[in-house]
Symmetry: D2
Subunit: 186 residues, 4 copies
């Protein structure tokens, strides 16, 4: 039982990362910072004769990192009421992996994962990030992944998240959830 944290942030040490740190404090995780990799937009070739063409970027490297783990924590700032484009590029490419012979069990593999979501936004996220939470739910349902919990923080300026006591309390609860998962499912 191991954990990957997939970061969609584009700023280092930002609010999303800080809140995620409260969750994973004292827990071993592999951190995957998507913005350190080049991931190109998907080109929809599902229906072209030759199918999806190989793409020369870091997507498969990132995917391999992620697939090794049992628990996936998606941590993204809320950009325009949705996940960051950086994270969206990564997830869009799943459509390609679903048809990639290198990943013959992609869907079944993801079905076994447990998912957590951490989002931080500046504009009333406890209401305006709810469509994003619903979208994550639909994504996880598509694969049969279990959606174990989500956490919405409110912050805009650097450091502001440290004043969101509600989110911090919820982060500590998510930390306990993660610890129990690690224990019970070894």
């Amino acid at each position: 039982m191991s954990i990957a944290v997939i970061y969609g942030s584009t700023r280092e040490n930002g609010n999303t990362e800080w809140l995620t740190d409260q969750v994973i404090h004292g827990i071993p995780v592999e951190k995957v910072y998507l913005n350190e990799f080049e991931i190109l937009p998907i080109k929809d070739e599902r229906h072209s004769e030759a199918g999806f063409q190989e793409v020369f970027d870091d997507y498969n490297t990132v995917l391999d990192k992620v697939l090794k783990h049992d628990i996936l924590v998606f941590a993204t700032p809320v950009y325009w009421y949705s996940m960051s484009g950086t994270m969206k590029l990564f997830i869009d490419r799943w459509s390609q992996s679903l048809r990639d012979k290198k990943y013959p069990n992609f869907r079944a593999d993801l079905a076994k994962k447990k998912a957590f979501v951490i989002v931080v936004g500046g504009d009333n996220p406890s209401i305006k990030a709810l469509p994003l939470i619903q979208q994550f739910k639909y994504i996880f349902d598509f694969f049969g992944m279990s959606f174990e919990g989500y956490l919405i923080g409110k912050a805009s300026k650097p450091g502001e998240i440290q004043h969101d006591k509600k989110a911090i309390a919820a982060a500590i609860h998510m930390q306990q959830q993660l610890k129990e998962q690690l224990k019970s499912n070894k």
Copy 2:
């Protein structure tokens, strides 16, 4: 009064484009295919001392095309229950334009636009694309843009959209809306 259609598709002549064609049939528009341009993920430098750094890609070129028009039609396939990453990259960068001296009136300029949305998805979009519609609403509200209407088509395989009679009927209605807008607000 003029119209820009902003395409988020990554496949040529796909279902989204076909449905959009039903809407804009006989109406002069400028078509902006986002996937023909290089638009890099935003780097959140809102809070760095130097602010946003100039990015050397096609974003400003695209933005300039869009800003010339009064009516913006956002046409995107539904990828993972949300707009395509290609379109998300474009919209994410608006955060930069909001702070860009080259666009001192960016927010006020967008406030004057009228927005339409056309989305096409394969997995029960009349329900599962609703969070995406809500996100567009929040985006337009942020700027004070008027959200004139949306259209949800159902299709996955090439050409499948042509069987979605409900979407086609709604497309014809949207066409009339556009024509009335063009007439009344010259």
Copy 3:
């Protein structure tokens, strides 16, 4: 194959009824006006020792009318961004029927129904009625009912619905759906 229309309106010949008339024009249906019946609020006795007590009102009469049919059209004005209290009282009582020996197959019976939804609201319903549509989806999913389509009209004052051309076009489409259902599944 037969159709029940379940009205949640509290005003006669209102906008919701008018829009529904466009849908059912020329189609035999049984109309069930919930406001003509007394339906008391559910009393949650799921967990009391004696279970649900018999309620002396018209609920079972109404339910029997509804269950005879294969296609259920729920037609309700949008009151405070949700179905009318009149319709909610009816649906809330389904929790009782799920445990009522008189309806041993209640859940399985509903699973076979096809559902349509017609709602009319005054305050930007194409956006603000979407949570209501999502709730109907969850209700139908609970039973395994198939959610065949929904229709959102905009109107507040008497007669105003007649100006909602988009809803009228969609009503005609729903009419065709109903006719095809009646034909194909005799």
Copy 4:
């Protein structure tokens, strides 16, 4: 500065009440149990010549209790992914009060209130109660009420809520919010 808790439950000492007790522990509130009163479904007479007719039930009594307070806590079980019919009947009648000469400042009065929401549901409420939260938001926005926070608990059988550690942690946070409100705005 004073607080009313408006209960939509139909069972005494249920999960919703228990969770609400965690929030209001040690805080003076007036409890309004809607199911102890007779509140009839609204009859939409907005557009009839004579307007709304007087209704002989307990609605105005309940409304008067509520309007005395500055902070309103809406505590309802989730019935069919929405507020209970009992609570819906109460809120539906607000349309009447908006036009009632006895309440000439109804809208302005509500605009000054601060609102909290506590909901408890059995079927994945952290996702499936989100449309209900969005509806409360629209209701509060209509009046210009400030939506201070919401709390979603998961429970079905009696007492089950006591195992929802996440909700309990959030309840304690809401308690602190309430205490701060009481202090700061005397």
